[in-house]
Symmetry: C2
Subunit: 391 residues, 2 copies
């Protein structure tokens, strides 16, 4: 048995980790725009990067290093250092050579694509770093781009043997499948004594049902990164406890990202059951959370179950009109060929849809496959943010 | 040799075809909402229907008939007769039993999903049909839903042997990959003496580069239909001439649909070249025309070439930062690692993007694969139309 208890501290709750956010003048008005994560001890690293073939310079820099440990990550917002070729990679080398007394320093960037990093500003910013700071929430703020709130979470995990370890994370963005140049970044720290292979395995597994189950607009950025740093300082570890804590961290942050989806006003869970298998359920759940028609119906608070049915049918997964069941929370509007959608039901459903959080369930009625995805609505604000991003 | 000459008449240019649109009270304010297409002679049929597994009752009705000829199609707007089960199919049978002196009558519907057809209104509407009318443009108006203009086109094809045939079409909607419940429908008539097998083969082939190369919002409706009716009345036919005329008809209407995409203000051609093969070029071209980020950048008239590069990279097709070239019309902004994107170029590109029609070219620099897709921008008006569709 183990207990997972919420505790403040973010990435600095984990013993031996330090972090802060500073202003290097990349953003306007002295907003925080550079963060660091530093560990007293060298860390094992697990990571998942974007599948975008135009992956950015920081990811190239990481891939070029092979197998290694690190104790330092520098993160900047406002500039993605993507499509910058060899020059972008050289910039990273030069910048990181200014960070003293660290092992295999890493960099991560988010912002506009196709512009060289403002190297001088960043190098000057490094001078403001204080490795004794435990300001996780300032680091969380510094990595924001179009985010409207910063995102962090941390838990203490108490094991049966009186030992305990900590896990914490900061994140930004609004989807691994994500919006604008608002790349999804997530940095997780832990003092658990977990092996590199095991944490990489768990990171992949947990990502499937968390960051890979959310959608804001179906795009995949050049810079998407999830990085897990483990310094083993607690000496404690237990696989199931760690996995559950990791899920809690990533699930919380994934939902925070959707909630903060550009212009989003609603967080909707798409619960698909009864599919031929889990993979087909995932196809349907993601088709629903990705669909522009569904997203705009959510924004209009229009219980347009026909669009849900049409999106299920268009997903490519096995589905049948005469087996399908659709519910808004616990209100069933269509069940195996029968409508339950009179004016009274439409009004009731519209009330459900006026809430900030609700669930749309689709039971395909075929077999036992299931998957949950998470999405948001899409309204005028999304268009505004994305039509105006560069200006 | 042959000549393809634009001629007025729409679907009624083809000899022996009649059509009209009437108001049956499905739409408000006596707007036209029901159309017929009638042929003196029975027609061979070629058709392509939606891939949506929740395909609507009219499509089930068609599939149930097996191999047959027809001389009559009834089309209604405002109600899709989709997700209506056996009752929806029975409604079609009852409605069509009221059309006298026709062979294997067909029905096609577009509008809201999940509502039974207003049978009485439609049956009363049938009484208003006059099979001697040649009002193609009224039929084109009657099948509109969120369309802002009606769509028709026709050509006379003169063959070397002094013979000639005609081809014409009406269409509605804004994409085979289409918006809202605004299903894409297209009805093509011809008096060419073409065999069923050959016209089905040509219809598939031409659809690939026309209706299947356009995108408004990436959704596939329950009712999408392209139907080609050939009554052979001219006695004339020549494969290459017919194919080219069919392409001209479908290409024109496909671009009309994008131009009328919900809220669209721009028609953009995505020209992808240098891909590993044509299939990969198609993947990239469609990723670009489907991308919300690209569409909103178009709306903002923001020459954000980084989003173009990122979307190419995210498409899954083989692509390399150091081989890619991106141009707005003839302005090259990125070429194999070099930016040409100073303030002057940005201003020039913004002028290109302020036009109603322009081309974004991506040369992947790998091999000779190429494909052209067509898309539009996405702005506030799209959200407005789709958030409010049912109300």
């Amino acid at each position: 048995m183990y207990n997972i208890i919420y505790a403040e501290g973010g990435i600095c709750l984990s013993e031996g980790f330090y972090a802060d956010g500073i202003s290097a003048g990349l953003k306007a008005e002295n907003a925080k725009d550079m963060a660091f994560i530093y560990s007293e001890l060298e860390c094992e690293i697990a990571s998942i990067f974007t599948t975008n073939k135009m992956y950015a310079a920081p990811i190239k820099h990481f891939y070029a290093k092979g197998d290694f440990k690190t104790n330092f990550v520098l993160i900047n917002s406002k500039n993605a250092n993507a499509m910058t070729g060899k020059a972008g990679l050289d910039d990273i080398g030069e910048i990181l050579s200014n960070v003293k007394n660290v092992v295999n320093p890493l960099m991560s960037s988010t912002g506009v694509i196709g512009v060289r990093l403002p190297k001088e500003k960043i190098i000057n910013g490094i001078k403001l770093f204080d490795f004794s700071k435990k300001n996780s929430s300032e680091a969380a703020k510094a990595i924001m781009t179009t985010d409207t709130f910063s995102k962090e979470i941390s838990f203490k995990v108490k094991l049966e043997n009186e030992k305990s370890f900590n896990i914490g994370a900061i994140a930004k963005g609004a989807g691994m499948i994500n919006p604008a140049m608002a790349t999804m970044l997530c940095f997780i720290t832990t003092d658990a004594k977990v092996s590199k292979d095991e944490m990489q395995e768990l990171l992949y597994e947990v990502t499937k049902t968390t960051f890979n189950a959310i959608s804001v607009d179906g795009d995949t950025s050049t810079n998407d990164t999830v990085m897990l740093l483990a310094n083993a300082k607690s000496g404690a570890y237990e696989r199931e406890a760690f996995k559950e804590a990791l899920f809690k961290v990533m699930h919380f942050l994934a939902l925070e990202m959707v909630r903060d989806g550009e212009g989003a006003t609603k967080l909707v869970t798409y619960k698909v059951t009864g599919a031929k298998n889990n993979a087909e359920a995932e196809v349907v759940a993601k088709a629903l959370s990705d669909s522009l028609l569904v997203k705009t119906a959510l924004f209009g608070e229009d219980p347009n179950w026909g669009r849900i049915a049409s999106t299920v049918g268009a997903s490519g997964a096995e589905s049948y009109e005469e087996k399908l069941k659709i519910c808004f929370d616990n209100l069933c509007v269509y069940d195996k060929g029968q409508f339950y959608f009179d004016k009274e039901m439409e009004d009731k459903c519209a009330i459900v849809m006026s809430h900030k959080k609700f669930t749309i369930s689709c039971d395909l009625g075929i077999a036992k496959g299931e998957f949950k995805s998470y999405g948001c609505d899409l309204g005028y604000e999304y268009v505004k943010i994305n039509a105006d991003y560069r200006t």
